[in-house]
Symmetry: C2
């Protein structure tokens, strides 16, 4: 029922409200990533969109509702920019690496002005109880679980050593991307991405079943080579 009417509305230029709502969220999500979800202000947002405060406010009903919608919008963007591309890759270690690569790339191309949206808002809200915090925590947990799940799947496929602790691996991989986001946004340090990727590949190599080493090596070379200068690890080009 809903689907049919939706199509009609869409055709007739209806869902005007929904269209405006999306435009609001699009702007809001970028302000929030730079100024924080609490720093995001209804007046400021209305100005930027040449709307009245009250007109904008009517779409949400409260600031908290707006914040929740913004987090949801950020999730959509994250899925489109990071998860979807990675999910096109075959399952296992290839997809696991793709998830991290896409994630790093998304940080690097500054999809959000203030770096990865979820890291910023997670730290902003971690000691501020409420629905917003709960939503952020749930989404963050979900993404972390996705990483861990893919690592586990790689174990099932025999690509990663089954003696490996998948949760520990996910923890470390997640940490490396987070650090890259931090370093890049605080120091404008572009090398952070290479450093993160070096660490990621190292973690995967350590846990890889013997036959997988070649596969990972290829992926590494295909992407970006860390100039070959700072590679003091053993057995480089035997």
């Amino acid at each position: 029922m809903k689907a049919i009417t939706d199509i009609g509305k869409q055709r007739r230029g209806e869902a005007k409200g929904e269209k405006t709502r999306q435009e609001i969220l699009q702007a809001a999500v970028h302000i929030a990533s730079a100024e924080g979800l609490e720093g995001l202000t209804i007046g400021r947002l209305a100005d930027e969109l040449h709307m009245s405060k009250s007109g904008l406010f009517g779409h949400f009903g409260s600031k908290e509702e707006l914040q929740l919608a913004v987090v949801g919008k950020a999730r959509d963007i994250f899925v489109r920019e990071v998860a979807d591309p990675a999910f096109k890759r075959e399952r296992g270690i290839v997809r696991l690496l793709a998830m991290l690569d896409e994630w790093l790339a998304y940080v690097g191309r500054s999809v959000f002005r203030g770096g990865c949206f979820f890291m910023a808002s997670a730290i902003e809200f971690d000691s501020r109880p409420g629905q917003v915090r709960d939503l952020i925590a749930e989404l963050s947990r979900s993404w972390l679980d996705t990483i861990e799940g893919e690592a586990r799947h790689a174990q099932v496929l025999g690509q990663l050593d089954t003696r490996l602790d998948a949760a520990q691996l996910a923890f470390e991989l997640h940490a490396l991307v987070q650090e890259a986001n931090w370093s890049y946004n605080l120091f404008e340090n572009k090398r952070a991405f290479e450093q993160a990727r070096t660490g990621i590949l190292e973690r995967l190599r350590q846990g890889a079943a013997p036959g997988l080493l070649r596969l990972l090596g290829e992926k590494s070379a295909a992407k970006k080579r860390p100039a070959g200068k700072n590679n003091p690890k053993r057995k480089e080009r035997t």
Copy 2:
């Protein structure tokens, strides 16, 4: 001239202003760690201290000045809680590990309500140019450099493999603590500290010169054992 009168003043309970200032900063630093440096409000702070806004304001002259002072105070606390204890240990890998351990412990005992002060404020200000951002970046950089410097020193002492990239190691160690802070404050996940420490020890073991393995093992056992259950790595107790 100034020094003499200062002594007299100090003896007579002078530096009253300085004492008040410190009390203000003590309260401010905790509010700021939970609500953010921008969420820290002069009115709220004055209420908490049963002072007038104007009386409090007079100590700083502007909000930015207050924020700078708060960051400085946070630095003092960080030095006292983390750096100083670690610096009592002998130089090299022992001190390096102590720095990370003290850092994790300080996160775990919630010295600041909102987790590690500098991670929170770094992400809050990373896309907000100004003196505050510059100060935070400088202090963060300095701590990261200290870690890297100690790793390098461990190389000089022959404790760490000289082929190791110290900057890369510092990046990864820093990432692990940062991740623990994130996970603990967002998920109340206490296991995060074990996970971080597991990763840290693994990084150090990998880079350690042969004779050092025993030393690290001792330190690990002395602190806290991860219940021995999730240790799927090779050569545990040969």
